[in-house]
Amino acid sequence: MGVVNAERIKLTSTRSPWWCTVAIIALGLGLAAVIGLSAKASYNAFVDEVAKGDKPDFEPFLPTLADAVGGVSGFGVLILMILAALAVTSEYRFGIIRTTFQAVPKRDSVLITKAGLIGGFGALLTFLLTFGAYAIAKATAGSDAGAALKLSGSEAWRAIYGVPIYAFLCVVLAVAVGTLLRQSAGAIALLLLWPLLVENLFGLFGRFGENIKPFLPFMNANNFLGAPQGVDFHWGPWGSLAYFAAFVAVIFGLALFTVNRRDA
C-alpha cells in the first residue's frame, strides 16, 4: 500500500504527467472533431454533386466508431506510453531510482506498481475519452455523415472497451522498455518508431514480410482494435489480443528479471 501511495505522489508532483494528460485529451477529442467535420464535408460534397445531376467519382466518407476513437487509440496511447516510459527513465536520469530502491528494496513491486497505477489511469482516461470522441464525432458529422457511428454491435463495442485494454498493455510495455533502456531518448524512440514505422517496414520485404506481419505485436493489437490493415491473421481479434498481451508479459518479465540482477 505504501508503494502505491509513494508512486501516486511521484506522478502527481511533477508537471509532465499533467501535460501528457492534457495532450491525450486534446488529441483524442480534437481528432474526433476533425474526423467528424471532414466526414460532413465529404458527405455534403457528395450530395451536392448528386443534386446537380452528376455522378460523383467518390464515395462519401462515413466514419465508424473505430475511426472516431482513432485519436485516442493512436496518438493518445502513444503519449501515454511516453508518460509511462518517462516515469521510469526520469528516475534513472536524476538518480532517484536509487532512493526508490532504498525505500522499497523489493524492486518488482516498484515496477508493478508503476505499471499498474499508470496503466489503470490510462485505461480509465482512454475509456472515458472513447465516449467523448464518439459524441464529438457524431455531433460534428451530423446525422447523415455520422450514420455509421453507432454504439451497437460487437465490433462497435470492442472499439470502446478495446481501447482501454490496449492502453493498459501499452503502459506495461512502456514501463518495461523504460526499465530495460534506462534512458528517455532511447526508450521513447523505440516505443514510437516500433508501432509507427518498424512494423510497417516489413511490407517492403515481399512475401517474407507478409508472412511475418501476422506475428508482429502491434499489428495484432490493431487487429484487436478492428483495424486489420489488410493483414491475413491466423487468429481472430481475441487471439490477437492474447498474442499482444503475451508479448507484453514477456518484455515485462524480462524487465523484472533485469532490474533485480542489475546494480542500481
Binding site: 505504501g2 509513494a6 508532483s13 538518480g95 525505500a103 528494496p105
Partner: protein, 314 residues
C-alpha cells in the same frame, strides 16, 4: 550496528572492493576514509542493497538490507544530495519517501523544520543550492527516525558554515546512540568529525581503529616543550632515551622538540623531576602526509610527480 563481512565487488577484471571486513558501532561517528576511487561509495551501495556484492555480506542489526521491513525506519542514507527530481518540490520529495515506508506525513514537516528548510518546502528542489540540497538529503535520512545512518562525502563542496553545521549534526545523531558511518577522502575533516576510523585503499582494509590511535601511529609525532629549566629538562629526557633537539624557531627562547614522543610521556618525565613547563604541545606531522604514507601504494590513480610534469621548468 553495521557488520561487513568479506565484502567483495568486482566490475569485470577490476576489484573495486576486496574482502572487506569491519564493524560500525552505535553511539559514535565512524569515519570511512580512503582516497577517491578506493571503493567507499561501492561499499556503501552494497550495504544499502543497491549493488550486488560478488562475495560477502553486509548486515544491518543482523539483517540484510533487502530483508528490512520499511527500511527507511531502520537506515537513513545520503549518498548524493542531487538525487532529487529538479521539478519536484522538497516537500513532495519527502512525502513520497514517507509514504513508501508508512511514515506519517506530519513527520515531513518535522524534518523540514529540523534542517531549516520549512520556508522553501514548496520550492522546486532543482533550484536549491548545494547546501540546501544537502539539508534536504539530511531531512530525507531522518524521515524514519533511523538507528543507522550513512553519509557519503557529505561535506564535499560545502562552504565552511555548511561543513560545521553538518559535522555538528552528525555528532548529535551519534550522541543520541545511533550508528553513524561517514565517508570522506579528507583525513583532516574526519579527525574533527569522527571518533573511530575505517580506512580503505584500493578496496582493501588498511586500518580499523580510533582516530587518535590512527593519527598517533601513522604520523611522526613530536612534542614541543618550553621551560625555564631547559637544561634540566634536556638531561631528564635524554636519560630516558628520548631524542631531543633545540627548537630554533622559538622567539621566546628555551624550547625543545622531542622526537617520537607523546605529550603524556614528556609531561610525566618533567613532572617526576619537578621541572616547570610553560608549554607542552603535540606537533603532528600533517595528517594528509600520514594518510599518504599509509595509503601510498593504495591510491588507484597516481598523479605524476610535479617535477616530472614540469620537466625542470620550475
Amino acid at each position: 550496528m553495521i557488520e561487513v563481512r568479506g565484502l567483495t565487488k568486482e566490475f569485470g577484471p577490476t576489484k573495486a572492493v576486496e574482502d572487506l571486513t569491519f564493524t560500525v558501532q552505535p553511539g559514535m561517528v565512524t569515519g570511512f576514509l580512503g582516497p577517491n576511487g578506493a571503493g567507499k561509495s561501492t561499499t556503501m551501495r552494497m550495504i544499502l542493497g543497491l549493488d550486488r556484492p560478488t562475495a560477502g555480506t553486509a548486515l544491518i542489526d543482523g539483517k540484510r538490507y533487502h530483508d528490512l521491513k520499511q527500511p527507511l525506519r531502520t537506515v537513513g542514507a545520503l549518498l548524493d544530495a542531487k538525487w532529487v527530481h529538479p521539478n519536484r518540490s522538497a516537500k513532495a520529495h519527502l512525502q513520497w519517501m514517507a509514504a513508501s515506508n508508512g511514515i506519517p506525513m506530519s513527520r515531513v514537516d518535522e524534518v523540514l523544520r529540523l534542517v531549516g528548510l520549512t520556508e522553501v518546502a514548496g520550492k522546486k528542489a532543482g533550484g536549491f543550492s548545494l547546501g540546501m540540497s544537502q539539508r534536504l538529503g539530511l531531512a530525507a535520512t531522518l524521515l524514519g527516525d533511523p538507528k543507522v545512518l550513512l553519509f557519503d562525502e557529505p561535506v564535499n563542496g560545502l562552504d565552511p558554515e555548511g561543513i560545521v553545521w553538518i559535522r555538528k549534526f552528525m555528532q548529535r545523531l551519534a550522541a543520541e546512540g545511533r550508528t553513524v558511518l561517514v565517508s570522506s577522502h579528507l583525513l583532516s575533516e574526519m579527525a574533527l568529525t569522527a571518533e573511530h576510523l575505517v580506512v580503505i585503499g584500493r578496496g582493501r582494509l588498511i586500518a580499523d581503529t580510533t582516530v587518535k590511535q590512527f593519527v598517533d601511529r601513522s604520523s611522526e609525532s613530536t612534542v614541543r616543550v618550553r621551560s625555564p629549566q631547559l637544561d634540566a629538562l634536556r638531561s631528564a629526557l635524554t636519560s630516558q632515551g628520548l631524542t631531543v633537539r633545540e627548537d630554533g624557531t622559538s622567539e621566546l627562547g628555551g624550547a625543545l622538540i622531542v622526537l617520537e614522543a607523546t605529550t603524556d610521556v614528556v609531561g610525566q618525565i618533567a613532572g617526576g623531576q619537578g621541572i616547570v613547563l610553560h608549554e607542552l604541545a603535540a606537533q603532528q606531522g600533517s595528517l594528509e602526509d600520514a594518510f599518504m604514507k599509509l595509503t601510498g601504494d593504495d591510491v588507484q590513480y597516481h598523479a605524476a610527480g610535479i617535477d616530472e610534469v614540469m620537466g625542470g621548468a620550475l
